[in-house]
Subunit: 332 residues, 2 copies
Amino acid sequence: MSASERVCDLAEEQLLARIFPLLPTTDATLVGPGDDAAVISAPDGRFVVSTDVLVQDRHFIRDWSTGYDVGWRAAVQNLADIAAMGARPTSLVVSLVLPRTEEVHWVLELARGLAEACAPHGAGVVGGDLSSGDAIVVAVTVHGDLEGGAPVLRSGARPGDVVAHAGVLGRSAAGLDLLSGAEETTAYPDLVAAYLRPDPPIGSGARARLAGATAMLDVSDGLLRDGGRIARASGVVLDLDPLGLSSPRDLAALSAAGRALDVDPVRWVLTGGEDHGLLATFPAGADLPPEFRVVGRVLEATAERGPAVTVQGVVPDGDEGWDHFAGRGSRA
Amino acid sequence: MSASERVCDLAEEQLLARIFPLLPTTDATLVGPGDDAAVISAPDGRFVVSTDVLVQDRHFIRDWSTGYDVGWRAAVQNLADIAAMGARPTSLVVSLVLPRTEEVHWVLELARGLAEACAPHGAGVVGGDLSSGDAIVVAVTVHGDLEGGAPVLRSGARPGDVVAHAGVLGRSAAGLDLLSGAEETTAYPDLVAAYLRPDPPIGSGARARLAGATAMLDVSDGLLRDGGRIARASGVVLDLDPLGLSSPRDLAALSAAGRALDVDPVRWVLTGGEDHGLLATFPAGADLPPEFRVVGRVLEATAERGPAVTVQGVVPDGDEGWDHFAGRGSRA
């Protein structure tokens, strides 16, 4: 294979024959790729399913992200949705739209990124579809298993619960701002990597369920916006404590980048999306998995305020996160 | 809602709130849209899954297809993959990429087309994702239930089996050629509709399994090309009888359009894709579901010929069907 080989040089079946061997399989895969459909084991008589799409120039930019990065992110943001239900991922299918002039090498790197993001979590890539198109689109559907437990929904938070978060906050947004700005990015490789290849705590979803989590989601659009989703679904107030939001080490890295870009790092922590950490509520006194940090508590919604996210009792200025059609910073 | 309302006039959550009420739900949906993921019943401890993508200007053209048509086709071509495993569809998730200037009306029509294609088969639309992009992309993932039976693969055809087909052949290709040509299409509304809104026999998949089908797939890329897939996977020859391929009524409609376009209608029947009928093999003497027509028989592959599709013992001139990257008519 030469680096300049293009997908239009191959028939679809030839390209698939190059991709399939790169993809992880699992014991849950009863029939894998190559037939009209795959057959997957669902031992507890249910499966969890979610779908998420990445679009070139919307979710990634070719100059910044390698094929590996795009494959990794496509997998991870889907795996996080399964974790957010308290489930373990089992399998993914991928629809891939590619320009006919795309390099085969780039596509195989994407497959490798997908595979390496999935393999540690025991998830197989069991099927897919290819099409040509003007821009790259990666649409992933992911499935998971609840191991006989109840799914952790957004609607179960109750006054008195603690609010906790596993993963990082604001790092992906800081990395994106660094890449977008004129600033030299080499001083902040961890933040740039957090944007290009987020690494959320996928296994923490099932652990949170086992620890009694009452509500959970993954933070894809920003802590304030996603916290608001739990608040509204549960009819409660999530009151956050800024001191709990980031580890001292995280905050130090964000602060240095914030000074370089003249950005308040707290803004990244509160409104930055795409870290895909898990925001959950637990009954007071629950034995939290160690990767969860307590970041606030659940209060009753009041008649004058209604369900909301507050920071030390105050509704913050803006809850702006990402909205795909209205653009950054609009309010849903 | 005005006809000129655009998706960029709405926040993503507002658009979703318009779409969700249009989508069918089913008893198999334990948790529906609105959380991080859906939870679906899989009563026999397995599920069948397939994914298929439609891309604007590749799989449909805005001037020909309404939103309803696109939603319908996106659903049907996926449902056919589940049927082709001998399963019954239970649920779909949909990733939708839309230009920000797209009319909201068009999107809601797409949802209605999806819904009406799914509802008769008991399949719910249980989740999705929206993104902006320059061209419309509809990526559907569909799930099905095998009711405790074995999946019908492509690899199970045995010499002595009969080859049978349920659905129509060549009508979608004829409709596409009519739309593509200068010819007046109003004389052939059924053929044009067969392209815009194919209506394959989804329920026949499970019936074929119950009748003992040994191999099956849906004809998406043309009878010769898809038949070749069964032949290669099973290591056999599929010998087709042209007299069995179309009903007299079907052939009359194709012949009239063929005369108008100067196309041999047999070419549509043998190489036209996207009708999504079911091509299956059954043991000789099996009691076929009545919608299946016998179209040939399975023979031993010979040393000199190998697995192939033949028509009355002769390898046809070309097996050209659709290839997404190389374009129409290339050989995979």
